[in-house]
Each structure stands twice: as C-alpha cells, then as structure tokens.
C-alpha cells in the first residue's frame, strides 16, 4: 500500500509518557534524525523534579517537544501538531495544550481501568467521545512491541521497554526521517548487550512498518530541509554548549580551566560535560557546597587559572559573599547561573528569569560585577567565551545568566572554526611595576582599569591581598576615608568601562513605533512574535540585551527612539525596573512566571494591543 505524501513547512511533535518511558531519549533521537535531514529545529524537554514519580501518575509525566521546519525557526513551538501519549496520565497532562484537529497517538495498552482511575478519568476518554475535537490514533504500542520481539531472547520487561523505539519508528516513518543515526546510536548504547541492540532495532522497524502498513495512517508527511548557511552542524543543548564554550575559552586563552561546582538542577549537566574534557587541561571539582565551589574556583583564579563556578538560584544565593571577595580582589572569575523557578527551592526543573536582580544587586556593599546572558542554546557557547573575555581582560567576576529553557532545549548549531574564536591570551605580571623594584598590585592599566594578575610562583612579586579595603596602588590595608571613596568609585568605574558591543535593533524598515526589548532566553519567542506581526504589517522593532552590566552605550538612544518600549520577562519586571531607573524611560513590563517559556502567540497578541494603542 502506497501512502499519500503531504508537504508541510513545519511540525511540532510532543512525546509524552511516564518518567520511566524514555521520552527524553525518544525525543532526542527524533531530533537527531531530523537534524540529519537538515530541518531547522528547536526542542523543549519538560520533566518532573522527582526522579521517577510513581508510574502512571500526573506528576510522573515527562515530555519532550520538538519543532522542525523548512525555514529558520526560533522556538520549540507554541502548540503541538502531534501528541504521542504513552499512557492516560500523559494524555491528561498535555491535552490542554493541543489545538483542535491535532493528531494524538495513544498507547491503548495503558488505558486500563486502574490507570484511568489513577489520574482521575471516570470513563475511558478513548471511548467516551471526549476526544472528538482531535484525530486520535489508538495503537497498542506495548503489545505490538512485545509481539514483534517474541522471537528475541530477552525478558518481557526489556521487551516492553522497547516500546519507545516502536513509537519512534512510527513517527520516523510518518515524517519520513532518515534513521541511520538511530541505528548507530542503539548499537553504541547497548554495545554491552547485543540482544538489546537487536531488540530495539527490531522494535524501531516494527513501528516503521506498522506506519507503512496500517490503514489508520493514511498520509505520510515531508518537511523539506531548511535553507541554512553552509557548514558543519550539530544539534546542541544550552548546557553542553556552555560547557564547550568554557573549554574553548581555556583553549583560546591558553589557560587551564578550573570548575568548582556543586550539583544542582538544571546546572549539573555543565559539570558533567566539563568533567569529560580533562584533556584540555580542564579540572573539575565537585565541592562540598556552593561556597566551597566558588571558593576553590577563586583560589584557582588567584593561581592563574580560568576559574569557573556553575549553579542555579539557591546556589547563587550562597555565593554572594565570595563574589564580593572576588570583586575586592579584582580577579577574573566566571559565575554561571542556570536560572530556575524560585523563590527558595521553587520548581527546580522549570525555567524562569528571576535571578537578574540577584546578579546585579545581590551583594553587600557596593559590589559591581559584569553580567551577561545568552539568548539561545547554541549562543551559550559564545556567551561563555564572551564572559571569559570580560573576566580575563578586566579582571572581574562575570555572572552569566542562562536558564532552564535554553539549558535543556536544543537547536542546530553551525560549528565555528576554532581559530576564528577570539584570542583570549592574557599577560601575567612578570616584573615589578613600582619604583625601586617594588610591586604595586593595585596599579591599574589606564585603559582597562585592570590591575596586574600576578600569580604565585612569580619571583619578586610576592604580595598580600585580601577582602579589607585596600589602598590605591599598593593594595595595603587602608581605612582612609578618601581612599575608600576613591576605591568604591573606581570599582564601579571599571565595570562601566568594560567595552561591550552596541545593541542591535531589528527594525527592518525602520517604521516601528514599538520596541520590544528582551534579554536571555526570551529571544526566540519574542523574535517569532515580532516576525509574525511584521508579516501581518504591524511593524515592531526587536532589540535583545546580551550585556546586562554594563549596558551597551547606544542603549539609551535606542530606547528613546521609540514611542513605546515593551519588556517581556519571565519574572515580575526586573529588567524593566532597571531600564526605567537608569534611563527614565516608561518601559512597559510584560511578565509571566509560569515556569515555561513564553509562547510566540501570546506575545504576538500582547504586542498587537500595544502597537494598536501607541
């Protein structure tokens, strides 16, 4: 039976199942196949804080959404076109996000009385007509997988486990994905147990063939490759990109990298990734807590390494005192905060942008530091390098604000040429800089205002520094009022003096009256909304802040060029407050704190209102 093939320009698929069903892996594989095909992609994993909540319950549902298209896309998609629901809980938890007419592929084997009751279904939704708005494809995923593997010498449990590969096979068929990489992946993953390689491949093929054969799936879809710049690509998550960016910074600075970290969701993967790259002279230390982690990183920085610490909200709260010390010591240090929903423990696996205040203001005394934020998964790579540039050039702590959304989300990344990356080499102090061969640890470079980085081991530069106020030039302890005033202002000035690129405005025909200003991970949804509005003839301008401290020099004039400035944030208006205070611009905050990224649609409708009311 030959199936009709229909062309689509974009599709959003959400795989949803129990925490134990392997949905993250399934989504990853589908993404990888899709990448091979050359679509543009954006993904959004969403999983519970519990490791493996009780099977079949709503809190146990884990999902992975992938958006792919034949043009360049900016978000993982507002609403799925297809939902794969491995059990009743997955169906129930995700239904509200599905627009009418979407496809739902359900694993009927899990729709038992017991499982239905567990999630509060009185009747079986597959039978009571409640799903009539959608196109439901009931598939006995488990039983068909087990059936297909009857000849394999594996346990029933292992056979059942392979059902995610059956589902992947089916979806791969539906969207005509190339699957060679999945086969290789399975061979590698189960290398130690060949029987599982065979079984999983068989399950995958069974799913593929099922699509090919069954009448239920009358149409097969194709999404053509996107037009993307030529080059070598890989799909990458923000956390991995950030880790690789740190390695790149070390390589380009010709400095060892020292990461002090304490595990915390959603930042731990940076530690995991970096600990694999020792060969680049990268040392990772899992410290006893966040304070020790940044302490060790600072100690390493004092010794001449590129010191880094990675964490999330609760950990950032603990690092303030040491960041303040690093500010007093004027040493380079990277502090990565992968933000999650707060306050307190909050919702560890959900995203948020509410640590900006903490990054800018969360230290006692006047303790300014540089702050930057990446805007997409792959941008985490470049943001890490930029953070290192600032830290090394200006001898200052730099806070880098990623968040759960881009940390776990992924997108295709055009691999850079390593030698094109910025040259980050630094010069350590080697000789005395004062009169009579003395060394003045706080004598500054007149241009960068940076003090010398004089690492232990350098003869003749022995000196003592600490967290007490220091006299200008000599660094000796000083309680002199005028010196303190001078030093406080100098520390502020040296952050202000950091050279950062001008902010760019995306205002294609310069006709916009409304500027949408964002920072961090909202770049994608804001960009998608602006595009959609422009396509509809409503001109809006977009500008995205990468450097949050210091801010670009041209920002003020950009802001003042527009009648209205709107600032969407996943917090209660933190950047908006800062912009208002600095530039006295009546910026309108648009806020949402749901632990989820904005959808392009909601931003579009909000902006439409603003544009119409200017």
């Amino acid at each position: 039976m030959t199936k009709k093939v229909q062309q689509l320009d974009r599709v959003v698929i959400r795989f949803a199942g129990d925490s134990g069903d392997g949905m993250q892996l399934t989504g990853d594989r589908f993404t990888s196949e899709t990448a091979q095909l050359g679509n543009d992609i954006s993904t959004l994993p969403n999983f519970p804080a519990e490791i493996r909540a009780p099977a079949g319950t709503l809190p146990g549902v884990s999902s992975f959404q992938v958006h792919f298209a034949d043009f360049d896309i900016l978000t993982p998609g507002d609403a799925p076109n297809v939902l794969v629901a491995m059990n009743p809980a997955a169906l129930k938890a995700n239904l509200a996000d599905l627009p009418g007419g979407a496809d739902i592929i359900v694993n009927t084997d899990e729709f038992t009385k017991r499982n239905l009751v567990k999630v509060g279904y009185d009747a079986n939704p597959l039978e009571d007509g409640s799903l009539d708005r959608w196109v439901v494809h009931p598939v006995g995923l488990t039983s068909m997988t087990v059936g297909a593997l009857a000849d394999h010498d594996i346990s029933k449990k292992d056979a059942e486990r392979a059902k995610n590969m059956f589902a992947l096979g089916l979806l791969s068929w539906m969207y005509s994905r190339p699957y060679a990489s999945t086969i290789t992946f399975l061979e590698r993953k189960f290398a130690a147990r060949p029987e599982l390689v065979a079984a999983n491949i068989a399950a995958f093929k069974a799913g593929w063939n099922f699509g090919e054969t069954t009448e239920d799936f009358g149409v097969r879809y194709e999404v053509k490759p996107a037009k993307m710049s030529p080059g070598n690509y890989r799909n990458i998550t923000g956390n991995v990109a950030l880790a690789l960016g740190l390695v790149a910074a070390g390589v380009r600075a010709k400095l060892p990298v020292f990461l002090g970290a304490y595990p915390i969701t959603p930042a731990s993967d940076i530690l995991h990734e970096l600990s694999k790259h020792k060969r680049f002279n990268v040392t990772t230390m899992q410290a006893e807590d966040e304070i020790a982690a940044i302490g060790a990183a600072l100690g390493a920085a004092y010794g001449g390494a590129l010191g880094v610490t990675t964490t999330s909200g609760p950990g950032i709260a603990l690092k303030g005192e040491t960041i303040s010390l690093a500010i007093a010591l004027e040493l380079p240090l990277l502090i990565v905060d992968v933000q999650r929903a707060g306050p307190s423990t909050g919702m560890p696996t959900k995203t948020e942008q509410a640590d900006l205040n903490m990054a800018l203001f969360g230290r006692h005394g006047e303790a300014p530091a540089a702050v930057i934020a990446p805007c997409s998964p792959s941008d985490c790579f470049y943001a890490a390098i930029e953070a290192a540039r600032i830290a090394l050039t200006y001898r200052t702590p730099v806070l880098l604000l990623s968040d759960g959304y881009i940390a776990n989300g992924s997108e295709p990344w055009l691999l850079p040429d390593v030698s094109d990356l910025p040259d980050l080499r630094v010069e350590f102090a080697a000789t005395p800089n004062g009169e009579d061969g003395t060394f003045l640890p706080y004598l500054r470079d007149p241009h960068t205002l940076a003090r010398p980085w004089a690492v232990p081991g350098t003869p003749g530069l022995e000196h003592r520094i600490g967290g007490l106020e220091k006299a200008d030039r000599t660094g000796d302890i000083s309680y002199d009022p005028a010196n303190h005033d001078f030093m406080v202002r100098t520390r502020a000035a040296r952050i202000e003096a950091i050279e950062v690129p001008d902010i760019e405005v995306d205002d294609p025909d310069g006709a916009a009256s409304v500027l949408v200003l964002g920072w961090g991970s909202t770049y994608g949804p804001i960009g998608a909304a602006c595009r959609a509005l422009r396509q509809r003839g409503l001109p809006v301008a977009q500008a995205h802040l990468r450097h949050l401290n210091p801010m670009p020099k041209n920002l003020e004039s950009v802001l003042k060029r527009y009648g209205r400035v709107v600032i969407p944030e996943m917090n209660l208006g933190q950047l908006a407050h800062v912009i208002r205070g600095r530039y006295l611009v009546d910026a309108i905050p648009y806020n949402q704190v749901r632990g989820l990224p904005f959808t392009a649609a909601e931003l579009e409708s909000m902006l439409e209102d603003v544009v119409k009311n200017v």
Binding site: Q36, P230, N281, I291, A292, A430, G466
Partner: protein
C-alpha cells in the same frame, strides 16, 4: 603540560614533575636556598595586641621557613578572618586574606591547580571550627595538600571576646553572660573523625616544639592539621597557663615523640598506659608500672583509633595534654589524584585547538553545502 599554559611569566621557575600520582606533588619540595628569617618578614606593620601569642607563632614560622628550601614566591599563605588570619600580611610570601571560614576551600582550588606551590592555611578556632567547620573536615577527608595551622585561643579575638567552639562549657563571655551551654569540640578528635592523615598539636610559647611540628607537617604529603594553643591576652588570658607555668607544666604537658615511650613530668615520673581490655589511655606514675606497659608512641599507626584515644587524654581542663604529632600516615592526596587524571588526559593532546575542533564535530553532525 604545565599548570599554567602559555602566558606564564618568563622567569617563573619550573621544577620537573613526573606524572605519577605521588609525583604530581613533588614540585613542592624545593632545593636549598640561602634565605633567612628576615627574608620572610613583610614590610607591613604587625598589628596584634602587645603580648598576643600570635607574635610568637609568627616569629617561629618566619625563622622556620628558610629550612624548607623553597623560594618565597612558591609559598602561599591563605587565611580566613580573625586576629590569627591577619598572619599572611606579615609573611613576605604570596598571601591571601580571604573571608571567614573559607580559607580551606580557596586553598584547595589553589593547591589542586598549582602543584608547584606550597600552600599554608592559617585559621582560628572560630574561623576553622565554627563557620568553616565543613570546609575543614572536607579538606581533611580529601587529604588536600595543605598545611593547616589552627591558632586555638578558645575565644573570638577579632570580634572582641565571644566564646568559640573550643571554649569550655559554662564559659562566661560577652555573648554568654550566664555561661555557654555548648560543650566544645576537641579539634584533634574532630580531625581524626574526618579521616585526617596528619594531626598535631603544639603551643605558641615553645618555639622549638612548634618548629618541630611545622617541620613534620611541611614534609607530609596531603593535609597536615596543626592545632596551636595560642594565648589571647586580651580576651582569654592565661587559657593555657597550666601548660606554661613552671610549677604546673611538667605534670600536664605530654610531649609525644615518635618511637619513644610516653612519659612526662619533671623527671619522667608520669607515663601513659593502655589498660588491658580498655580502649582509652590512662596516666600512671612511671614507678608504679612495668616499663613494657608504657605506650610507645607511633605516629604512623594506620588505625586512627590509637591517635583518637590519645586525643581523649586531656580533660577539658588541660590536665593531661599531649603535644606533638599524633598521627602521620600516608595516603594519596586529592591534588595528586586529580592532577594525575588531568595530566594523563592532557598528555595525549599535542594541539589543543585541533583536538577541540575535532571534539566539536564528534557525534551526530551534518553538513549543509
């Protein structure tokens, strides 16, 4: 691959380091140099109270340093906050006066990434055992290559006289006008419970003994924990007088010497025995026991229960206080293990940029043309 690539200062002395696990630390041992105590005095005016025990410790350390044979620039003193923590300012070496309690953590990062340095930590009873307790026990368990000098004056000096985790129960201080309600730590027991490989105690006023202990600490691979009883003449004057006054010290102070029977008193008239069946140690009159009953001190006993038993000897009133090296056993340092992993991996890479480029393009990649 050295610990600092590329941009290091040209004159920086480098020592050969092999890549075996113990070898990774070997850069810390230096060659004979002709330095004197004066070379270790910085130009900073010392600002402790007149009469403070810290002066004696400073002088002892400064005059001990030359025998290490390590150039000044390869020595770093890291401290927290407290009177004692001002120490680094007065040493003409590299020095970092950090924040309260965090010196062991900061020093760990430094030591792990710079095996060519010798890193000393100077801390107080509040700095190390109150706010910094966790970093201390973790440094000890990891066996980081640090020489940790804890100046124990059993009081908070810098904040003007509150009780500390080593103050005796019932101590009346500014913050405990009705007497403190928490019984103290025994720093030696705590260190042993935290798996410390080197544990010692000494006294500010006995320069020779102090330097003996420093010597032993300096050549230990891994964490060397040294408790130094220090008099704070302003807020806890005379805390250790029992161990210093001519009429009491002989009966109270037990000098441990590796390989020797533990006797003390004016004429060795007291000794330490290990009653059969028991786990603790007891003090007896030497004349009343047979010489074979006297415990012969062995700092190298693997089983920490011995050193632990020794640490329980002093009643809180100091009536029987062992000083010297309680324990000195060998196990790999954290730094060495970590450096070995990194160095072995890095040794395989000749061109990091090219290797990095190939890392980037490993795994599932695709090409758009």
């Amino acid at each position: 691959m050295s610990e600092i690539q590329g941009a290091s200062p040209p004159e920086r002395p480098r020592t050969a380091r092999n890549r075996t696990s113990s070898g990774a630390d070997s850069g810390r041992q230096g060659v004979a140099l002709t330095l004197t105590a004066k070379d270790f005095k910085s130009d900073q005016e010392v600002r402790w109270c007149p009469g403070c025990g810290d002066y004696a410790i400073l002088a002892a350390v400064q005059s001990f340093m030359p025998e290490l044979g390590i150039p000044r620039e390869r020595i770093v003193f890291v401290s927290g906050i407290g009177c004692s923590s001002r120490f680094p300012y007065y040493m003409n070496t590299y020095g970092l006066h950090s924040i309260h309690g965090r010196a062991p953590a900061i020093a760990t990062g430094l030591s792990v990434s710079r095996p060519d340095l010798q890193v000393w930590v100077v801390t107080g009873d509040g700095d190390a055992l109150s706010i910094g307790g966790n970093h201390l026990i973790h440094a000890l368990r990891r066996n980081v290559n640090l020489k940790i000098l804890l100046f124990n004056n059993r009081i908070y000096g810098l904040t003007k006289g509150q009780y500390s985790p080593t103050s005796e129960l019932g101590k009346v201080t500014k913050s405990t006008p009705a007497g403190s309600a928490d019984s103290p730590f025994n720093p030696i027991s705590l260190a042993l419970g935290a798996e410390a490989s080197f544990v010692a105690r000494t006294i500010d006023s006995d320069r020779k003994h102090l330097q003996g202990v420093l010597r032993s600490a300096a050549n230990h691979q891994g964490s060397a924990f040294v408790e130094i009883y220090q008099n704070c003449n302003i807020f806890n004057d005379g805390a250790f007088d029992l161990l210093k006054e001519p009429d009491t010290r002989d009966a109270a102070l037990i000098r441990l010497e590796h390989g020797s029977p533990i006797t003390f008193g004016t004429d060795g008239e007291f000794c330490v025995v290990h009653p059969p069946g028991g786990f603790g140690l007891e003090v007896r009159e030497t004349a009343s026991v047979s010489p074979t009953e006297i415990v012969v001190h062995d700092e190298t006993v693997t089983e920490p229960a011995y050193a632990f038993a020794l640490s329980r000897l002093p009643a809180l009133d100091l009536s029987h206080t062992p000083v010297g090296v309680f324990r000195k056993v060998s196990r790999p340092s954290y730094d060495a293990l970590v450096r070995t992993q990194v160095q072995e991996a890095a040794a395989k890479v000749t061109d990091p940029e090219r290797e990095f480029a190939s890392l980037l393009s490993s795994g599932d990649t695709w090409t758009i043309i």
